[in-house]
Symmetry: C2
Subunit: 392 residues, 2 copies
C-alpha cells in the first residue's frame, strides 16, 4: 500500500426530496449564487421550480446560466466567468449531470484565476482557489458531484482536457435518486459505464497489498452489475437507482483509489474520441474498456484473474488464466450489450480515418512530447492505436 491522504470534504445529502432543502443547505455558504444548468429538462421535470423556490425561501439571490451541453464547452465557461465577475457571485450551483458540474467547476476556478481559464487545462496548472461549487445531481455517471476533477472541451481546437485540483471539489452535493427515473435508457447506460470505469481505472494496479481497496472496488462493481439492469428495465425503481447513485459518488470521490497507483488510460483515450466525435463519454468508455483489457491483461494476469473471479463471477480454479480472463471480458461486454451500449467504434460512427491522429494526441506524441498513457501498463501511441483498431 502506498502512503496516501484521505480527505473528501464534500457534504453529500442523499435521498428522497433532498433537492427541496437546497436553499437551506446553501445558506451558510453564500448570499448570491449562479444557477448553472443545461437545456430544458430541469424545467420540464419541475426540478427548476423546486430548486428556485427553495432558494427564494432561503433568501438566496441567484443569477442563471443555462445551455451546458454534453462535453461542456470552453466558450460557455468563459461566458460564466465574465458573468460571475461582473455580478459578484459567491458560489456556483450546478443543477444537472457531470457536464453542468464540470462547467461550474471551471467557472469557479476561472473567476479567481488571473489568466485565461484554458491555460489551466492546457498547461495543467495547479490552482489554489476557486469559488465554492454545489450541485443538485440529475445523472449518476461522472461522479463529479464529489470529485476534485473536471473535464472541459475546447471546441475550436478539438481538445478535451481534464483537470484535478482540491479547490474544485463541491462543498455540498444533493442526490435524490428519484430524479433519475426520467433519464432516457441510453443516458442511464452511459452513466453506468462511466462510473464503472472510474472504479476500473483505480482497481487495475500493480501496487501490492491493497486488500481493503480491492474489496471496496469489487463490492461497488458487484453492486452496480446487480442494480444497473434493473434501472434500465424499470426506470422507476427507486431502490436500484439509490444503489447506482450512491455507488457513482463513491466511485469517484477517490476513496477506492487510496494507497494504490491508478491507471486512467481508458479515460485518456476516450477523451480523444469525445473531443473529435462529440460522443458521450460513457459510450466511448464502454467500447474502449474491454479492448484495453484484452490488450493489457498479461501485464498482471493475477490482478485480472482476481477481477474475473471476484467481479465477473468466473470460476477460476483449475482453468487456464488466459481463458478465464477472456471469459470475464466477454461477460463484461455482454453486460454492456444488455445495457444497450455499443461494443464497437463503428457503432458510434467512428472509422479508421482519424485513429492515428487521436492515438498521437492521447499520448502527447502529436505535440512532440510523448508522455504515454496509463500506469498499469504504459501505452505508447502505437499501443493506443492498436487498442482503437481492436475496438473498431
Amino acid at each position: 500500500m502506498q502512503n496516501f491522504t484521505f480527505d473528501i470534504p464534500t457534504k453529500l445529502v442523499f435521498g428522497r426530496d433532498t433537492q427541496k432543502q437546497i436553499g437551506a443547505l446553501l445558506k451558510p455558504y453564500a448570499k448570491k449564487i449562479l444557477l448553472h444548468y443545461g437545456g430544458g429538462s430541469i424545467k420540464r421535470s419541475g426540478l427548476y421550480d423546486e430548486v428556485t423556490a427553495s432558494l427564494r425561501t432561503a433568501g438566496i439571490e441567484f443569477l442563471e446560466l443555462g445551455g451546458v451541453v454534453p462535453n461542456p464547452r470552453l466558450s460557455l465557461v468563459r461566458a460564466g466567468i465574465a458573468l460571475c465577475r461582473r455580478e459578484g457571485v459567491e458560489l456556483i450551483l450546478a443543477v444537472g449531470g457531470g457536464s453542468a458540474i464540470d462547467s461550474a467547476k471551471a467557472i469557479a476556478m476561472g473567476v479567481l484565476f488571473e489568466g485565461d481559464i484554458w491555460q489551466v487545462f492546457n498547461d495543467d496548472l495547479h490552482v489554489e482557489r476557486a469559488l465554492p461549487v454545489a450541485t443538485v445531481l440529475t445523472i449518476p455517471a461522472a461522479g463529479s458531484e464529489s470529485s476534485e476533477s473536471c473535464v472541459i472541451t475546447n471546441e475550436e481546437a478539438q481538445l478535451k482536457y481534464g483537470h484535478t485540483d482540491a479547490c474544485v471539489r463541491p462543498v455540498l452535493s444533493v442526490v435524490n435518486p428519484a430524479l433519475f427515473a426520467t433519464l432516457p435508457p441510453n443516458q442511464a447506460a452511459n452513466g453506468v459505464a462511466d462510473m464503472m470505469s472510474h472504479i476500473f481505472e483505480r482497481y487495475f494496479t500493480n501496487t501490492r497489498h491493497t486488500d481493503v481497496t480491492d474489496e471496496l472496488c469489487e463490492g461497488l462493481l458487484r453492486a452496480i452489475l446487480r442494480n444497473a439492469p434493473k434501472v434500465i428495465e424499470a426506470p422507476g425503481d427507486y431502490d436500484a437507482w439509490s444503489e447506482i447513485g450512491w455507488a457513482g459518488s463513491l466511485a469517484h470521490n477517490d476513496l477506492v483509489g487510496k494507497g494504490r497507483e491508478q491507471d486512467w488510460a481508458c479515460h485518456g483515450m476516450e477523451h480523444e474520441l469525445s473531443a473529435v466525435y462529440d460522443i458521450p463519454h460513457g459510450a466511448g468508455l464502454a467500447v474502449l474498456t474491454p479492448a484495453w483489457m484484452r490488450y493489457v491483461y498479461k501485464t498482471n494476469a493475477p490482478m485480472f484473474l482476481q477481477f474475473a473471479r471476484e467481479v465477473m463471477g468466473v470460476r477460476t480454479e483449475g482453468r487456464d488464466a488466459d481463458g478465464t480472463i477472456l471469459e470475464a471480458v466477454t461477460r463484461l461486454q455482454a453486460f454492456f450489450r444488455r445495457m444497450g451500449l455499443a461494443q464497437s467504434l463503428q457503432e458510434l460512427g467512428i472509422g479508421e480515418e482519424r485513429l492515428e491522429e487521436m492515438a498521437k494526441k492521447a499520448t502527447g506524441a502529436a505535440f512532440g512530447e510523448e508522455h504515454g498513457q496509463g500506469h498499469f501498463c504504459q501505452l505508447k501511441w502505437q499501443d493506443v492505436l492498436a487498442i482503437f483498431r481492436a475496438a473498431l
Copy 2:
C-alpha cells in the same frame, strides 16, 4: 435505503513516517496545543520525541497532559479542561489509541461548554462547539481517529457513557501502520474485535435495499479476517497492519452505516461490563457478539445467512438456515480464539453476581426509564441478562 448525509471531514494522512509531518500539518489550525497521551509507551518507542520535534520545528507551542488510562476517566478530562482554559489552548492533539483520543474529545467539548462536562454524557446533550481535535494513532481499534463519538467512564459512579456530536470529529488524523508493530498481541486482538464490532453494529439491519453498504461492510470484514491473524503471528508485517489500520478507520467514520438503521446493542451491553469490571472494550465485545448473534438471528435470518455466506464463507445452498448461521457464529468464535481472545465472561473474571444489575443499567431499567438496547432486535433487560448468561 434510508435518506442520509455523508460528511466525513477528517483529513486522514496515512502511511510510513507520517507522524513526522504532524507539526507542519497542524500549523494551519493552531499556535498553542495540548499534547494528550497515556502512559510511557510513546516515550519508550521514541514517538513522543518525533512528535515534539515536529511541533517545535513548526513553531507550535505545546502543553502536556499524560496519564490517560483504558476506559478513560472523567477526572482526567476535568483536569484537562481546567488546564486548557487556563492556558488558552487552541487544539488538542491526542497521541495514542481510542482512550487518549476519546479523552481529548471530551476535553475539547468541555473547554467550550459552560456546565460540567459529565452533564453532556449523562443527559446526552447536543453540543455545537468544541476545540479542534487532531490525533496520531498508535492502536487501530476504536476508530475514534475519524469518528464523531467518544466514550468516557465516570469512575466514581461506575458509569461508562458514549457521546456523539459532529464537533468532536478530528480535523486531522495521522496513521502510520509501522507504529502498530510494538503492540502486545492482546491489544492487537482487542483492537481487531473492536473494529469488527463497529462494522457488525452497522451491518446487521432490517433496512432493505442496502447493497452498496452491505458490500462495503462485507469487504472490510473479509479484509480484517484475512489480515488480523498475520499481525498476531508477525507483528512487524507492515502490509497487514496497513490493511488493519485503514479498515479500522473506515469501520467507524460511518461510511459503511449510511442509509441503514444501525444496531449498537453489543456496544451498549459491553459498556456496562467495562464500567463495572474495567475490562478492555474489545475483549468484552469479542465475548458478547457471538452470544448476541445466537440470541437475535431469528429476527432476520436472511441477513444472517448473507453474513454466513459472504463474510464467514459458509456454504449456504441446500442447507438449513439455523445450522448454517450457527456454523458462521462458531467460525467467528474460532477466529476470535485464534486471535487469543476470551470467549466467555468467566475468562474475563466476570461471574453471575452483577449481571442483572448491568442488564438493568444497559437498558435504562435501573433508572426507571427502560429504553431497551439495540435496533436490529430491541432488547429488554431480561434479554440482555439472557445474553450475558449465555456468554458466561
